[in-house]
């Protein structure tokens, strides 16, 4: 198959179009984050400022908590803590459960798996009112703990699902050899399966992190103070209370995008494989 002479130029035209559609809006956001407020509110807005300003980034990193910018830093830390804890809990519980589904036979196996999937498919709206009431009764509203508890309820089934497929694809002979050498099931899991399954663990952990980082609805309902708010909730406030501060919205948005974008670009292979494997329900 010899490609025609139009093949390469037309492919790079497609590539240029893709780059424009993806990077164009990004570039506007970046410019907005360094443009002075007066220029942004002009008609038309001045998005090529003579004197770009990094004040907003500086304010987010140095302003005392209590201001809009200073609070954003606190909120970034909240998001990291909540997403990090959710990943830790769901990886530990998910690995154990996934191994049971992949390698053991027991009564009710299909039923339990079905209920896990069912809970995963439930729209948050069908759960949030009772969760809110329970949270209020336990005094957990407006805490980061409440978010970790709720997030684990959807990151865990995801990790469980992804890893049980992953474990099943590993040759059983690996463990059998270890077990003949005197390891128990759990010993074989920890010493033999986990090291081999590292790429799967990385995919699962990173995707769970991104899910928790992106989550908005529960955070909006459960949290209200800077002590527990996460990044999406803080960003949503730019459409209300600070609705015309587009510059700070842009700076905050770009900072909020840094962890997921870095993770996705660095671990591109893990992420794309994990997405493809996880999608097949």
């Amino acid at each position: 198959m010899r490609p025609s002479r139009f093949y390469r130029p037309s492919m790079y035209l497609c590539g240029a179009l893709l780059a424009a559609v993806v990077l164009g809006p990004f570039a506007l956001l970046l410019l907005a984050s360094v443009s002075p407020q007066a220029g942004l509110l002009g008609k038309p807005p001045d998005l090529w400022p003579d004197s770009p300003t990094l004040d907003r980034y500086a304010a987010i990193f140095t302003q005392a908590a209590g201001g809009v910018a200073g609070d954003f830093r606190v909120v970034l830390v909240n998001s990291l803590v909540v997403a990090g804890c959710s990943v830790a809990v769901s990886l530990v519980t998910g690995v154990l459960g996934a191994y049971a589904f992949a390698r053991l036979r027991f009564p009710g196996r299909r039923l339990v798996l079905f209920v896990f999937m069912l809970t995963y498919m439930m729209p948050p709206l069908a759960l949030v009112v009772p969760m809110y009431m329970t949270g209020a009764a336990l005094g957990l509203l407006d805490t980061r703990t409440s978010l970790v508890v709720v997030y684990c309820s959807f990151t865990t089934p995801f990790v469980l699902w992804l890893l049980s497929g992953y474990f099943r694809a590993l040759p059983a002979e690996l463990e059998e050899a270890a077990r003949i050498d005197g390891c128990g099931r759990v010993g074989a899991l920890i010493r033999v399966v986990l090291p081999v399954a590292r790429p799967g663990l990385i995919s699962a952990g990173l995707l769970a992190f991104l899910m928790a980082w992106d989550e908005f609805f529960y955070a909006l309902i459960f949290t209200s103070s800077p002590a527990s708010k996460t990044v999406p909730v803080a960003l949503a406030e730019f459409t209300g209370r600070y609705s015309l501060d587009f510059g700070l919205m842009a700076a905050g948005g770009l900072l909020a995008a840094v962890p997921p974008v870095l993770i996705a670009l660095i671990f591109q292979k893990h992420i794309t494989r994990g997405l493809a494997a996880g999608a097949v329900k």
Partner: protein, 315 residues
């Protein structure tokens, strides 16, 4: 990157111990291994699942109410006979069909492009991953500003280029706003669709295409007669996933339009949210939530039926 789509868990091979005919009581160990995950998930979700079902069958109008009277299916019949509810369902259908169609069409072309062996492909694939990784709220905020009727970058750019005489309100009309919001959703989600389709495309061997080319099939013909049929299971997965997500879409609408103008972007998830949290009509909200679950369930089944492949598929 090569990846084969795995079969669902129910078709797992028999466990190693059982295969060798050794009698091994596995359920105590299985229970011990599964207990942490079950506590973390079922402990948090099952009670609210049941509680919401109960709420949908009583007359709760306050979060603090403790005594309810059973009202049967009256909340459901109230919704189903409410024209506002059906308008919401219609908007959700329009949003779902439009955004999914755009995502699938563009996603297929994009996956096909990403599957070409051209120099710099790593850069184009990185672009797609970049767009996918951008948090939904950041994307929604970004587009809200770009499309802002008074201070938006789009109006400004088009004015500067002389393409526009006066500022336009891109999300001004209810119908227009619904389509714009669906497009913003597509901008954010098409990369995911492309990634999923690409993974499946990479499992098709070159020899199939070469044989077809020998028989005189052109590029378009090869795409339509080989790629699309081979991708059927992946397309089914995408359709199910995207439909479920479209029914749940909340963040983009909350940020960009708050359901307006004139309820034009109030899809079923946002409607449920308004019922439960703005109007405190918890029972109606709960009934709407369970109707959503029903819709999702039925639609998923229909898709899987429609797209079931001869090989048994992933259904």
């Amino acid at each position: 990157m090569s990846l084969t789509l795995r079969r669902p868990a129910s078709t797992a091979p028999p466990a190693a111990g059982a295969r060798r005919g050794k009698v091994e009581r596995q359920w105590p160990l299985a229970l011990a291994l599964l207990a942490p995950a079950m506590i973390v998930v079922f402990g948090v979700v099952l009670y609210p699942m049941g509680r919401t079902l109960v709420l949908s069958l009583v007359d709760a109008t306050s979060a603090l109410q403790t005594a309810f009277s059973f009202s049967g299916l009256s909340n459901y019949t109230a919704l189903l006979s409410d024209s506002e509810f059906w308008a919401t369902v219609w908007r959700t259908a329009v949003f779902t069909v439009f955004s999914t169609a755009v995502e699938l069409a563009v996603g297929l072309l994009l996956a096909q492009f990403l599957n070409q062996r051209i120099r710099g492909q790593w850069f184009f694939r990185s672009l797609v991953v970049l767009a996918w990784a951008l948090p939904t709220i950041v994307s929604a905020n970004m587009w809200r500003w770009i499309l802002h009727p008074e201070y938006g970058a789009l109006n400004g750019l088009l004015m500067n280029l002389g393409l526009l005489d006066s500022y336009k309100d891109w999300v001004g009309g209810p119908t227009q706003a619904l389509f714009v919001v669906a497009l913003v959703d597509a901008w954010k989600t098409t990369p995911l669709v492309a990634i999923l389709l690409l993974a499946s495309m990479q499992t098709i061997g070159d020899d199939v295409y070469e044989a077809a080319a020998m028989d005189g099939a052109g590029a378009v013909r090869r795409f339509l007669s080989i790629t699309i049929p081979m991708l059927k299971p992946a397309i089914a997965v995408v359709l199910v996933l995207r439909t479920i997500e479209a029914f749940k879409v909340f963040d983009i609408i909350y940020i960009m339009t708050r359901g307006g103008p004139d309820s034009g972007t109030t899809t079923i998830a946002f409607y449920t949210y308004l019922k439960a949290f703005s109007n405190q009509e918890f029972s109606l909200g709960s009934a709407a939530a369970y109707l959503t679950v029903l819709f999702i369930f039925v639609l998923s089944l229909v898709y899987l039926r429609m797209l079931r492949t001869d090989s048994g598929g992933t259904a």
